[in-house]
Assembly symmetry: C2
Homo-oligomer: 215 residues x 2
DNA sequence: TAGATTGTTAATCGATTAACAATC
DNA sequence: TAGATTGTTAATCGATTAACAATC
């Protein structure tokens, strides 16, 4: 009940919160003042009880008959995820995927600002990709320390992933968003988030094989 | 026990299977003949009991003391995921992300071959991206039917996602890999796999906020 | 008041973890 | 034989689903 206390949520809940947030922001843009968990559930095709439990964990309080005041529930979710203030991030590896992520405008709405991009390829260093000059990766750890960068986005080839991850840790980076297939070894206090396309594809492939839809 | 019977696996298991597969292929390339679940577990930082259960579901049989014969276990996982034969896919939306996915060589190892790319932008139609000429999206449904394409990779902007998804369904596509933030409405027999970067980021952000590492 | 929605408590389900017998 | 590993059975944990009282 203390104001700054932070409940911990399960991974399934955390993964659903951004979906609610996106919908609620849209409803807010449309000028609506209240949103009920029931409506959110219907719109997203999620069980209403799940929505209620998820929203409850953010600490938001709804009103029977009306639902949640939209600006309040949006703030509650943002606070809970740490998205009320943007966190600075470095991106290392400006290949196709890295460039695509640099070009994605939506991250700021999710509390992430990629403030600089790095590569080791001399042909890429010095070029400008989506408004950011690509710097030499050797400068990365020092700059990370200087700028107190918290998150590293890792879009290099698998063979150098561990080396770059080490450099990120050296630079004081606390969370690594790993888009490579490499299994990384980092100190226990560093948070790893793996983005595994193969895993998603496996779920799709297996379901396709079973021939069962989204029921 | 019938030869073509297919057990159904939970999502967590399905997401881990590609990790095992990648490691086992590498061990195979290194000339190893046997791999124990224990070694796989150690290498990937996963509980050995989980690995044993996951491998068991593919139908593979190991030998005490030795482990699994590598070529057999690789085949078992591939069969289970439907990755022993590649499935043809169409990609629609050749923006930054679409181009990045077209450039990714690894999909064939995961049973996916993107055989054609489509867009609606006249400036992009006709250009060649990573060896594939971009076609007009109006041709997509007809070609999908003709070529019996099973999977559609959706990398368009959110505002046209539903329309393109409808066209994919019209073309007989059975599984849609949705890289847009849109919530899609498709017939029950069509399988949706959503790739939600915001969800991954939410998990990372929340953990960062709690200050707890990967323990 | 009547009715829809919240928030909580209980029941069910599935995944993870633990324990151990079987096997080579 | 001894010992490592498989495969199975049981226990625990957490998430989902169900039921219902409280509230505006």
């Amino acid at each position: 009940m203390s104001p700054m206390e932070h409940k911990t949520a399960g991974v399934p809940t955390l993964k659903r919160l951004p979906l609610y947030l996106r919908l609620l922001r849209r409803m807010n843009d449309e000028g609506q003042k209240y949103a009920s968990g029931a409506v959110v559930a219907r719109e997203l095709g999620i069980d209403p009880i799940v929505v209620r439990k998820d929203l409850a964990i953010t600490g938001a309080v709804g009103r029977p008959r009306l639902g949640f005041q939209i600006d309040e529930i949006i703030s509650a979710i943002e606070e809970f995820l740490g998205w009320s203030n943007t966190t600075d991030a470095f991106l290392v590896g400006v290949g196709h995927l890295g460039a695509a992520l640099l070009g994605y405008q939506g991250f700021e709405q999710h509390g992430l600002r990629i403030v600089a991009a790095f590569d080791s390829n001399p042909d890429i260093i010095g070029t400008t990709v989506h408004g950011r000059t690509v710097l030499d990766v050797v400068q990365m750890p020092e700059l990370a320390r200087l700028m107190h960068v918290q998150i590293g986005v890792l879009t290099v080839t698998a063979s150098v992933a561990q080396k770059v991850a080490n450099a990120m840790v050296e630079g004081g980076i606390r969370g690594i968003w790993n888009f490579t297939p490499a299994t990384l070894d980092v100190p226990k206090n560093v948070i790893l988030q793996r983005e595994e396309l193969a895993s998603s594809l496996a779920v799709l492939s297996h379901r396709l094989l079973l021939g069962r839809g989204s029921d």
